[in-house]
Amino acid sequence: MNELKHRAEEVVRLAKSGGASAADVMIREQDTFSVTVRMGEVETLKEAISRSLLLRVFVGKRTATSNTSDLSESTITSLVSETIGMAKLTSEDQSGGLPDPLLFENNFPNLDLVDEGWEAITPEQRIDFAKRAEATALSADKSIVNSDGGSFDYARSKTVLANTLGFMGAYEGTASSLSVSPIAQAADGMQRDFWFAVARHRSDLPSPEDIGRKAAQRTMRRLGARKVATCEVPIIFDPYTARSFMGDVFSAVAGDAIYRRSSYLVDQLGQTVASPAVTIVDDARLLRGLGSSPFDDEGISTHATSIIENGVLRNYLHSTYSARKLNAKPTGNGQRFSSGSVVIGPTNFCLKPGQVSPEDIIASTKTGLYVIELIGSGVNHVSGDYSRGAVGIWIENGKLAYPVHEITIAGNLREMLKDVETIGNDLTFFGSIAAPTVKIRKMVVSGE
């Protein structure tokens, strides 16, 4: 870590002496291990350590960025001077610049992002996780005849950030994921589903057998899927598909979408935008959180931000830039693209769970659709119009009756938020956006 810090400081110095009025530099190092197995045999095995350096310079109110995997002195030296040269060719932008130094902290909390225990797990054991998950799925039922494989991924990453205002910060994190994707066969064709889990700590990762069993159940329940007639019914998103719904909410509250006026939630701070059941918080300081970090990619000390509270829109999420554009405070959501430029990203963006179990939510629904997979990109984030391919289980008289596919669900996100009827008690994390089961009063299902 000290070597990376030293490199980052060096690059900042180089930028300053080369004529930049301000600059910040981020270095990421990732040590990754990845294995895929299929039908009990290793299919691919991949290991590497990779580095990337992301530089942003300001020359007055002008800016440019650069990125490289080549940390050699000669490449960096020429890249720094070229980036400064490029900045001079861009336009003056009054909202540009590094964050206010008052937003930096020197003491960072321990967010428990590293599990040192991973170091003791041998490659053979890691391969075995994937094999066990797949083997459990394959042996779950005779309908499961094939597999798209199982995989285990592990990464340990180091992040260092330094800038010309004297900020220097570093943190590490470990992350693992285990997944399996079985294939079941019936007379009318094949069905594939999957299950996976992600965790920073070994003890938070479910056993390979649990994941294999769940994947098998999810796959078998899709066999015999049919279409349904076009109709308007209540929709229940399971936690996996509800997460995608929350992703659509995130896109609408990101500060850049607000100043561009490309969001269906523009101009609505303080207004009721969702049902009173909806409370959403973005919290970067969740212990062991998959999206947690002590400071954002601009060095701003992170904190929790209330987005929607009992249906009322409280805050948008900001980088330094979007905050200046809208006279708001940065929320610590500046994240760097691999290109080096700063965008706005979620940390741990969560829909607060309710009191009701998913079983009770299903039981409360006379006729409806329980959605288990969404495909395609049919979301208009500007108008909120929503139309996506779906796979689900049809609900009849409060019971999961039969699987359905080759259908779409459609509506408008503005109305979907207001139509949230019930929220489950089963908040599940698959990444930095998380949700429990969500029931929406009605949407149009298009089928036969």
């Binding site: 691919t44 095995l45 995997s69 336009s91 561009r260 500007v382 108008s383 779409t408 459609a410």
Partner: protein, 490 residues
């Protein structure tokens, strides 16, 4: 053809022209040593994929150039194949020790004591330069010229209509040097240019807002931005789409007759059949198309090809990322399935010929079968006549993205510009809607094929297992007897 041509037998002369030999002083001997190390534990095959990529991006918004970005990325990926197993490792620099270490890591997959034997490489040759000029790279052109393209686009979009309130335009280019050396003795290299211009607009009226988007590019230099890809033309298309959407009515819901316009709607082929015909899924029998070669999967009007050899196209390559020349591969001929898109691993295991479709996002990724430019050959119908035959249906002129579940065969693609057809006439514009269908059956329902084949404008990005690669699609106007349209208007 105005590409620089190099005959393969002139290879010796070209030997020291690749950046890896010239700038990084790599020799054939080094390559042989790395390959030997990769096969030190046995294995059937090994290859080295060297990549050096320079790219620029420039972004305009609110009538100013907000930022410019340069990227310099390089490294080498090392692959060892043993039976159906692949070992992979990479290094972010070209330091000899680090490459040897990566070779040993990749070698870990094989566990035979048998040695691969001494590797003898033929002298490195440039892959025959058929498809793109290597004399004039966009990445060498001064930034001011690129910036002026963006200002031109911005002015045009704004002038198009006062309801256009926000314009974002971005320019991106790259030059990718690649070198592939393999234990079968091949050593080939290529230099691959790529440029792109995107314009997105927001139109606003009475509190209603709608987006518009258009773009274009290809494997050439700034000279691509003329005619149909002139920045002003791209900007006007983007603005027109946003304005059109302001007046759009709710899209219909349910199955109906759909006419797809020419060009980018070819995304239908990419999702409905293209992915399902990638050899890895068929070798593993996880595709809904597995075992259907020789069978009728489409109406006789349909002939579908994947062609990586079209000059200057975004999806084209002189060689794939396994060093094999790209091909024109007929996937469906007059409705009958002909074969799959192969990479080295699947073609070896399936004993099928290579098709030059082994591609990867970068040196950090393992190659797999991917599409290049996928399109349907033109038919005989006049497009206007096709519309006239529809009593009540949808005309889809443009699309956003799509996705497919290759196992069940279900696929979607979402309209970004569509209209109702009523009594043979195109009438109101409708809001965006997702169309959903079944890959192995949708092309059986193609009842008319137009004589107006068009390829897309060069902005496609295809994702598979987390790897993104540039691709092209194309389509003549076609009529599909029935497909489910996912609107809200029952």
């Amino acid at each position: 053809m105005d590409g620089l041509r190099v005959r393969t037998d002139a290879g010796r002369k070209m030997e020291n022209k690749s950046i890896f030999f010239e700038k990084y002083n790599i020799t054939n001997r080094d390559l042989e040593a790395y390959l030997s190390e990769a096969l030190s534990r046995g294995g059937d095959y090994a290859d080295l994929f060297f990549e050096y990529r320079v790219n620029y991006m420039i972004a305009l918004e609110e009538q100013i150039i907000k930022t410019a970005t340069k990227g310099v990325n390089m490294g080498v990926g090392i692959r060892v194949i043993s039976g159906e197993k692949t070992g992979y490792a990479y290094s972010d620099d070209l330091n000899r020790e680090n490459i040897l270490k990566a070779a040993r890591t990749a070698a870990f997959i094989a566990n035979n004591s048998a040695q691969g034997g001494k590797i003898g490489l033929d002298p490195s040759v440039s892959q025959e330069q058929r498809l793109y000029s290597i004399r004039d790279f966009a990445t060498d052109i001064e930034i001011a010229q690129k910036i002026s393209l963006l200002f031109e686009a911005d002015r045009t979009a704004r002038a198009h209509d006062p309801r256009i309130k926000h314009v974002q335009a971005s320019y991106a280019d790259e030059t990718k040097h690649v070198l592939l050396a393999a234990s079968d003795g091949r050593s080939v290299w290529d230099v691959q240019p790529l440029v792109r211009l995107n314009v997105s607009c927001i139109a606003e009226e009475n509190g209603q807002r709608q987006p518009g988007y258009s773009g274009g590019g290809g494997r050439r230099s700034l000279d691509v931005f003329q005619g149909d890809l002139d920045p002003r033309t791209i900007a006007a298309r983007s603005a027109a789409q946003a304005i059109l959407q302001l007046g759009a009515v709710d899209a219909p819901a349910g199955p109906m007759e759909v006419v797809l316009g020419p060009g980018w709607p070819g995304i239908l082929l990419h999702e409905a059949i293209g992915h399902g015909l990638e050899a890895d899924f068929n070798r593993k029998k996880t595709s809904a198309f597995a075992g259907l070669v020789g069978q009728k999967v489409a109406s006789e009007l349909c002939t579908v090809v994947d062609d990586g050899t079209l000059p200057f196209r975004r999806g084209s390559l002189n060689m794939d990322d396994e060093g094999n020349p790209t091909h024109k591969t007929v996937l469906i001929e007059k409705g009958v399935l002909q074969g799959y898109l192969q990479d080295r691993l699947s073609s070896g295991l399936m004993k099928a010929p290579l098709t030059g479709n082994g591609r990867r996002q970068s040196y950090t990724h393992i190659p797999m079968p991917r599409m290049t430019n996928t399109f349907m050959m033109a038919g005989e119908s006049v497009p206007a006549d096709i519309i006239k035959t529809v009593k009540k249906g949808l005309y889809a002129a443009n699309f956003g993205g799509g996705q497919v579940d290759i196992t069940s065969g279900k696929f979607v693609f979402s309209t970004s510009e569509a209209y109702l057809i009523e009594d043979g006439e195109i009438t109101s514009a409708v809001k965006g809607a997702t169309l959903i269908g079944d890959g192995p059956t949708v092309l059986r329902r193609v009842t008319m094929v137009g004589n107006d084949l068009q390829l897309d404008q060069g902005v496609g990005i295809c994702g598979k297992e987390g790897q993104m690669v540039p691709v092209g699609v194309g389509l003549p106007t076609i009529k599909i007897q029935e497909i489910t349209v996912g609107g809200t208007e029952k």
